[in-house]
Each structure stands twice: as C-alpha cells, then as structure tokens.
C-alpha cells in the first residue's frame, strides 16, 4: 500500500490542534485506506488502518493460530499408534507443520500490535476461540485420514481465498500454509483410499470415520450467511472474499466426486446433483449441535483446553529457565560464558 504512514490519531491536547482538525485528519486516513482496499492493494503493518479492521484481523488470525495448535491434539493422539512407519512419519511431519503454521500465524498477528503470549493467554482463559472441528474425538486410525481429506479440505477451501486477503502479512502466511495443507490433504485422501481398498474391517473403519467427520467438516465454514455476524464487514474490507455458504457449497461440490472415487458414501440422504443450479444439494446442518460445540459443550472442548493449559503450565519453568539464561548471558551472546 502506498498510503499515509500511520501518525497519531488521538487528541493530544497540543495547543492549536483542535478536535476538528484531528477528525479531518482521521477522515483523510480513512479515505486513503478505503481507496487502497478498493484498488486491491495490500495493507501493511505500518499503514494506518481503522481500529475495527485491526481488531477484526487480530481476532481472526488469532483464532486461526489457535486452531493450528489445538488441532495438533486430535492427530497427535494417533502418533504413537500409527500402523506403519511410513504413516507414522507422515503424521509426525504433519503435526510438526501445524506447529509451524501456528508460529507463522502468531507472527502475522503480532504485526498488528499484539503478542503471542497475550494471545495464548486469551486462548487458555477461553476469551478467544479455535475451530469447533477440533472438539471432536479421533476414535480410530481412519479418523486421521478423514481429518486430512475433509477437515484439511475444508480448511483449504476457506484459506485459498485468504491468500488474496487485504492484509499483507496474513495473505502471505496463507500462501505458505495452503501449500503445506494441500499436501496434507492429499496424504489424508491417500490414507483413506488405502483403507477403503483394504480389508473389510479397514473399509468399515474408513466409512465410519467419514460418517462422523462429514457434518462437522461442513460446519467449519461457520454459520449460514443470514446468521454470520462478521461476514458483511469482513467482505467489505476484503478480508473475506466469499460468504460462508458459498464456500461450503464449493467444498461439497468438490468432495462428492472424491467420495465416489474413494468408494465411500457420505452420510446425507438428501445429497444429490441439481442440474438447474449446477451444484449438489445437501441436507440441513444441525445448527443446534454447531452452537452447542461453539459454546463449549462438544465432546472434547474441556479436554482440548485443559491439555493445552497443562502443557503451558508444565512448560513454565522451562520458559523461565530460557529467559533467565538469556538474561545472564545477554552481554556475551554466547552460552556458558558468563560476563566477567
């Protein structure tokens, strides 16, 4: 963005600077910002931006970062039980990537003037949320494949348009995240395919996992458009490019033929091609369940949050040690060589 670099917008009580002058300056900044968004320019950290835009991005990026790190849990649940060394390596690499995505995203959020510690504190105290999908349990190995195919698939459908998001650091983080996520999704699909084509017991395991993850995956796109509180503003700011329902439809249209190729069915008796619309029609989503999980009453909400809090608390002495060590050796820049 080739915009005005942010100056103060507050009344400083400086003699000769009237509130009216400040308001005029504010309006000028807003006009530049609006023009930049309209021209599809990227907003960068030093640019002026409306406070509500900043707050909205912090909320969204933080929630995204939190989802990456809470999302490690349902998959990490199977690392020690992965049924072959190849699958184990793939799963470990994936969980590692998720930690990496969390790191990029916290860094992107920090460009907006917050800190990772502050955001983690909000996650741990329940003041910021993470994706509701991670409140569902991974009950069998096939769930790992279903998560890769459906959950990562839904995430990619949501995130690819974010690569063109108006906020530069978020858009750039999404480019890196989406590359890795696409890779994970293909691996998840391939793991499910191996199960589907495997023994009868493996096929049944794959079908059961898809039956349990299908609807929660559709819920990942958020509430229907007429109930989505943030959508209109996020679209006006070009943070979001498509509505929840549009993205959900896009995902269903992609997933149905993939399910057919997998040799698995989707648990929706109303699912059928609509020639007129050129899309798949699908059955009603259980929004009561969605809101319930969002409110904290899903199968794993308590477990996920308490595991995360526990890891943080158990690690406190390690972080304190690292800080104390760095402080002792800050003048040498080296370990183990105390300043004389």
């Amino acid at each position: 963005m080739t915009a005005v670099t942010a100056g103060t917008t507050e009344t400083t009580g400086v003699p000769g600077v009237s509130d009216a002058a400040v308001a005029a300056e504010q309006a000028a900044y807003e006009a530049v910002f609006d023009a930049a968004v309209a021209a599809d320019e990227r907003i960068e950290p030093r640019d002026w931006m409306p406070e509500a835009y900043r707050a909205s991005l912090v909320r969204q990026i933080a929630q995204h970062a939190h989802s990456e790190i809470i999302g490690m849990q349902p998959e990490a649940n199977w690392i020690t039980r992965a049924p072959s060394l190849r699958r184990k390596a793939i799963l470990m690499a994936k969980v590692q990537d998720e930690a990496g995505h969390g790191l990029y995203l916290y860094s992107a959020a920090e460009t907006l003037g917050t800190s990772r510690d502050e955001l983690l504190d909000k996650l741990h105290s329940g003041r910021q949320k993470y994706s509701s999908i991670f409140n569902y349990p991974t009950l069998t190995w096939a769930d790992v494949g279903a998560i890769g195919w459906l959950v990562d698939g839904a995430a990619i459908t949501n995130q690819v348009p974010l690569c063109r998001c108006s906020y530069g650091p978020y858009a750039r983080a999404m480019v890196r995240v989406c590359k890795e996520e696409s890779f994970h999704q293909r691996q998840g699909y391939e793991a499910l395919l191996a199960l589907s084509r495997g023994t009868e017991a493996q096929h049944a395991m794959a079908q059961d996992a898809v039956d349990r993850w299908w609807w929660p995956s559709l819920m990942m796109f958020g509430p229907p458009d007429d109930e989505s509180t943030h959508t209109a503003q996020a679209m006006a700011w070009k943070i979001k490019r498509h509505s929840n329902d549009e993205l959900r439809q896009r995902f269903v249209d992609i997933a149905v033929p993939q399910a057919e190729a997998l040799g698995l069915t989707l648990p929706d008796p109303d699912l059928r091609w609509n020639e007129e619309r050129g899309h798949y029609d699908f059955g009603p989503i259980d929004w009561a369940e969605f809101w319930d999980v969002l409110k904290g009453n899903g199968p794993c909400n308590d477990q996920r949050l308490s595991t995360r809090r526990q890891a943080h608390e158990d690690g406190a002495w390690v972080r304190e040690a690292a800080a104390a060590h760095a402080e002792k050796h800050k003048h040498t820049g080296k370990h183990g060589e105390a300043q004389a």
Binding site: M92, A93, L195, A311, V318
Partner: protein
Amino acid sequence: MSTPDTREAAVITGAALALGDDALVLSHRLGEWAGSAPVLEEEVALANIALDLLGQARVLLSQVGDEDELAYLREERSFRNVQLVEQPNGDFAHTIARQLYFSTYQRLLYGQLASGDGPFAGLAAKAVKEVAYHQDHAEQWTLRLGDGTTESHERMRRACDALWKYTGELFQPVEGLDVDHAAMESAWLASVTDVLGRATLTVPEGPRTGAWAAGAGRQGLHTESFGRMIAEMQHLHRSHPGAAW
C-alpha cells in the same frame, strides 16, 4: 553350522537392528511429546528430531527385512535398543538429558562409521549431519536449564543423575560395528563433562551401568516401561494381521 558368508550377514543384521532399534524407540518417545512441548518452537524441534530418527530407523530396519514387520511384530525380548532410549520422557529436563547423552554418542558413532568403508558408511554420512543438529539442540537446552533458574538447575541435575546409569551400555561393543568403543567412550565422557561444566552442573558420581544394565538392551533385556510402550505402538498393526496401510 553357518557358512562364513551367512555368519557375516547375521553380524551385519544384528548391528543394523541395534542401531535401527535405538532410533526407532527414541523417535517413538519423542513423538509422545507432540502437543505438549513447553513452547511451540520445541514442538517443531522435537518432532524434527523424531522424524530424523525415524528416517534412520527405516533405512536400518529395511536392511534387515520388512521395516513394519520388524517394528510391529517383534516382542519386547527381540528388540536390541539400549535401555537409555526407552526411558520415559519424564519432564523436559529428563528428555533433554536423554537427548544429550544419546546424541553425543550417536554423533561419535556415526562420525566413526562415516569415515570407514563398512556397510553403514553411507547411512552414517547422512545421519551424522542430522545428529549434529540433535546434539546442538540438546547442548543448548542443557545450558539453558542447568544455568537458568534454581528450579531448572535442580531439575536438570536430577535428570542427569537419574539417566547416568544407562550410559555405560552405549559403549558395550556391538559385533559388526567397526568402531573403537573405548575411544568413543572417552570422547563421550570428555564432551559430556564439558557441556555439564558449562551448564554449571557436575558430572554424576554413580556407576554408569546398573547390575543389569551392561549390554542388557542389546541382548533384549529391557526396563518395565518398554513393554507398555511397544504395546501401544504395535496394537493397531497387530489387530489387523496382514493388512496394508
């Protein structure tokens, strides 16, 4: 009676199993940390090390036979890893002490193997680069924890002490590994002594082998937690005999 050729092959197989099992088991233990590390950067680092080790294990076990059959269908008495790597993670200090002791050993071992022309030279040449990172990571954390706060110093001291008795086993000669175990042991002691000293810690005083520990893991004699660890590791694979994944 075995012919000299099959005898030689059996020796190489035995050595590959010993090294492969070390890497497989330690990788598994590190995998248990996923989602519970003290900071996000350590989620990445521990998983990274676990993946390197798993990669080494897969190469080594594949030299012996089918990697999955070997990992998932052997019973506890057939595993040839040293007891050090099967020790439970404990707190972060225990994990780091285990990493320090083991990665220092592995770097010396692979360093020697890489400079020779034996059957492990190729693998060792690649692995020694990975292991150098592992050792650096373990040393950095030993320094931070040892020379950090009073609490971290105490935890690191306890961890180093607790694992000390498993370190002697690392230098029991393994047939088929053409390395100078005695030279490795003195280099290992010098390196660990140096790091612990810089971390304001003292070298533990107890014996480096327990009554059972000398060579025990290499002979398939393990500690109690190991059986539970492989029960978890093998359960799914064993529940679906003959299935492909």
